[in-house]
C-alpha cells in the first residue's frame, strides 16, 4: 500500500502526488462507493476502492430469519435486478432439498428474470450515458424502466423489490393479459434499443470516451474473476444460461453477444456497453419464446412451511444481469441456514478497478465504473 510521495515527470522535475477522495457520496459512484484516487494532475496513478458503505449484513441476517424469510432480503442484494437474486436463493434452497419446480413456475421465473434483466441493463447503459455527461439517455432509460416496472408490479405488487419467487416456484401465476402486455411492450422496446444505440452508443464523442479505455483481455478477465457482460465484453464466450443451463433456459434459442473490439480493442469500455445493449435484444428473444411456450400447470411445488433441508452445502451459479452470481449455501439441517455467501459480479468488478485505473485519466475512472455497471449493494451486500 505504499505509494511514493514524490514523483518525477518526464523532465525529471519533482511533482507532488495529489490524493483525491471520490465518494462515498459522489454523483458518479452509483450509490455509495468510495475511491481514493492518487493522481498526478489529471492522470491517475491508482484508484483504490473503499467499499462497505452499504454493507447491510445480509449474509448474517440469513442465519437469523430462516429459509423462507430470507427471500425479501435477496431483493436487496441487487435491487436493480432483484428477480435474479430471488432465483439464486430459491435455486440454492431447492437444490439442497431436492425440490422439483413445476415447469410453469420455471417459465414464470424466466419471464420475470429476463424482464428484470432488461430493466437492469437499461439503468446500466443509461447511467453510462449520464456519467459521460449525456443526461437524456438516462431519463429515456428511466421512462422505459417505468413501463417494465408497471408490468412487474402487476406480476408481484412491487416496483423494485419484488419478492416474487418462493422456494419451490413462484408466489403467483401470471396475471390476466400479462402475456399480451409483455409482448406489446417488447414490440415497443425493440426500436427503442435501436434509438439508444443511435443516441448514445454510436455517438462519436461517446465512442471516443469509451473505446480503447481500460481494456481487459480475456485471460485477465478470467483470472480477476470478471463475470457476465464484463467477461463477455472481453471476448470470453461464456454464459451460465447457455453453458451450465439452469431453470428452463435449455428450451430457448438465444445468442451470447461478445465484445469484438468493434470501436477499439476487445474488452474496452465500449465493448462492455454494446454487450449489454445486445443482451437486451437477446432477452427480448428469450421472452418471446417463453411467452409463446409457457405450459399450463401449477406454479409452485409443495414445500413445507417449516422448511428444513438436509445437512450439506451447495454452490449455485446463475446468470444475473451483473454477471454470474455464485451462491454458497450451507445447511445444518435446522430451519435456519448455517451460512449464505453470495459472490456477486460487482464485487469482482470492483476488485479489478485498482488494477485498471493505473495511468488512466480521472474522467476515465468514471467511464470504467460506469462500464462495469457496478451497483453498490451487490458489492457490499
Amino acid at each position: 500500500m505504499s505509494v511514493e510521495l514524490e514523483i518525477h515527470d518526464s523532465q525529471g522535475l519533482p511533482t507532488e502526488e495529489m490524493t483525491l477522495n471520490m465518494g462515498p457520496q459522489h454523483p458518479s459512484t452509483h450509490g455509495v462507493l468510495r475511491f481514493i484516487v492518487k493522481a498526478d494532475g489529471e492522470v491517475m496513478r491508482r484508484a483504490i476502492p473503499d467499499i462497505g458503505y452499504l454493507h447491510r449484513s445480509i449474509e448474517k441476517i440469513a442465519e437469523k430469519v430462516g429459509w423462507h424469510g430470507f427471500m425479501p432480503y435477496t431483493d436487496r442484494v441487487d435491487y436493480v435486478a432483484a428477480m435474479a437474486c430471488n432465483q439464486g436463493w430459491a435455486m440454492a434452497a431447492e437444490q439442497l432439498a431436492g425440490i422439483e419446480v413445476p415447469r410453469r413456475g420455471e417459465y414464470c421465473r424466466v419471464i420475470a428474470a429476463e424482464l428484470s434483466r432488461i430493466c437492469s441493463h437499461l439503468l446500466g447503459v443509461g447511467a453510462m450515458g449520464m456519467d459521460m455527461g449525456a443526461i437524456t439517455p438516462f431519463t429515456h432509460a428511466l421512462r422505459e424502466r417505468d413501463m417494465i416496472m408497471d408490468l412487474l408490479e402487476e406480476l408481484c405488487g412491487a416496483r423494485l423489490t419484488f419478492n416474487y419467487m418462493r422456494i419451490g416456484g413462484v408466489a403467483w401465476d401470471l396475471p390476466h393479459d400479462f402475456v399480451e402486455k409483455v409482448s406489446h411492450y417488447l414490440d415497443h422496446l425493440e426500436p427503442v434499443i435501436e434509438e439508444f444505440n443511435q443516441l448514445l452508443g454510436y455517438n462519436r464523442i461517446y465512442v471516443k470516451r469509451f473505446a480503447d479505455v481500460a481494456t481487459v483481455d480475456a485471460d485477465m478477465a478470467i483470472a480477476w474473476g470478471l463475470v457476465g457482460p464484463n467477461l463477455r465484453g472481453s471476448g470470453v464466450d461464456f454464459d451460465v444460461r447457455r453453458d451450465l443451463p439452469y431453470s428452463v433456459y435449455e428450451d430457448f434459442d438465444f445468442d451470447v453477444p461478445l465484445g469484438s473490439g468493434e470501436m477499439g480493442s476487445i474488452g474496452d469500455c465500449w465493448d462492455r456497453y454494446i454487450v449489454r445493449m445486445r443482451e437486451m435484444v437477446e432477452s427480448i428473444r428469450i421472452l418471446r419464446q417463453a411467452l409463446a411456450g409457457i405450459p399450463e400447470g401449477p406454479v409452485i411445488a409443495k414445500v413445507a412451511r417449516n422448511f428444513k433441508p438436509p445437512v450439506g452445502d451447495v454452490h449455485v451459479k446463475i446468470e444475473a444481469p451483473r454477471g454470474e452470481q455464485s451462491w454458497y449455501v450451507s445447511s445444518d439441517g435446522s430451519e435456519y441456514p448455517h451460512r449464505v455467501h453470495i459472490r456477486t459480479g460487482s464485487f469482482t468488478a470492483m476488485g479489478i478497478i485498482d488494477r485498471l485505473s493505473r495511468g488512466l485519466m480521472i474522467a476515465d475512472l468514471v467511464a470504467v465504473i460506469a462500464s462495469m455497471d457496478i451497483v453498490a449493494p451487490e458489492v457490499d451486500r
Binding site: L54, I61, L142, P377
Partner: protein, 173 residues
C-alpha cells in the same frame, strides 16, 4: 443575525415571511444522496413519470448549494459518520427527508449489525416517507408535505417556537 424572529407580527412582516417561504418551497434543490434501493426510486421520481422538476426540485451534486437532503436508503454505521459531515456542509436553511423504512427506523435491516437504524439518530429529520421502497408518488407526497411545512415557517416575525436557526426543525413539536 438579529433580524431573525425579531420583528413584530404585522401584515408587512408576515408577507415577507410568506414570500421567503414561497421561494424556499418552490426551489428545493435536493442533494443526490442515494444510498440504497430507495435511490432508484428517487431517480424515478426525478425521472419522466413523476418529475420532481415540476416543483422546481433539481438534483445537485454538492451539498453547498442544496437545500434538501433526501436520505434514500439504508444508512450503515460506516456511512452514518459521513452523512453527518455532509449534513453539516449544507447551508441553512436545510431540510431532511428520510425516505424509506431503512432510514426511518432501520426497517428490514434493523437487526443487522452494521446498520444505523434510523437516520434521526444522526441528523434531524423533517419528513419521514414510509415504504420499502416508497413509490415515486409517496416520495412526491412527502415532498409536498415538506413544502407545506416550509410555508408555516416564520423568519422575520416573532415566533413562539424555538428560533429556526437555533435548532433543527425536526425537534420542534
Amino acid at each position: 443575525m438579529s433580524l431573525i424572529n425579531s420583528a413584530p407580527e404585522m401584515v408587512l412582516t408576515s408577507t415577507v415571511d410568506q414570500v421567503l417561504n414561497w421561494t424556499r418551497k418552490s426551489s428545493l434543490w435536493y442533494m443526490l444522496f442515494g444510498l440504497a434501493c430507495c435511490a432508484i426510486e428517487m431517480m424515478h421520481t426525478g425521472g419522466p413519470r413523476a418529475d420532481l422538476d415540476r416543483f422546481g426540485m433539481v438534483p445537485r451534486a454538492t451539498p453547498r448549494v442544496s437545500d434538501l437532503m433526501i436520505i434514500a436508503g439504508t444508512l450503515t454505521l460506516k456511512m452514518a459518520l459521513r452523512t453527518k459531515v455532509l449534513y453539516e456542509q449544507m447551508p441553512d436553511p436545510k431540510y431532511v427527508v428520510s425516505m424509506g423504512s431503512c432510514s426511518n427506523c432501520g426497517g428490514l435491516f434493523q437487526y443487522a449489525y452494521s446498520v444505523c437504524d434510523g437516520v434521526d439518530k444522526v441528523i434531524p429529520v423533517d419528513v419521514y416517507v414510509p415504504g420499502c421502497p416508497p413509490r415515486p408518488e409517496a416520495l412526491t407526497e412527502g415532498l409536498i408535505m415538506l413544502q407545506k411545512k416550509i410555508m408555516q415557517e416564520k423568519w422575520i416575525t416573532r415566533s413562539s417556537d424555538t428560533p429556526r436557526l437555533g435548532g433543527p426543525i425536526g425537534e420542534r413539536t
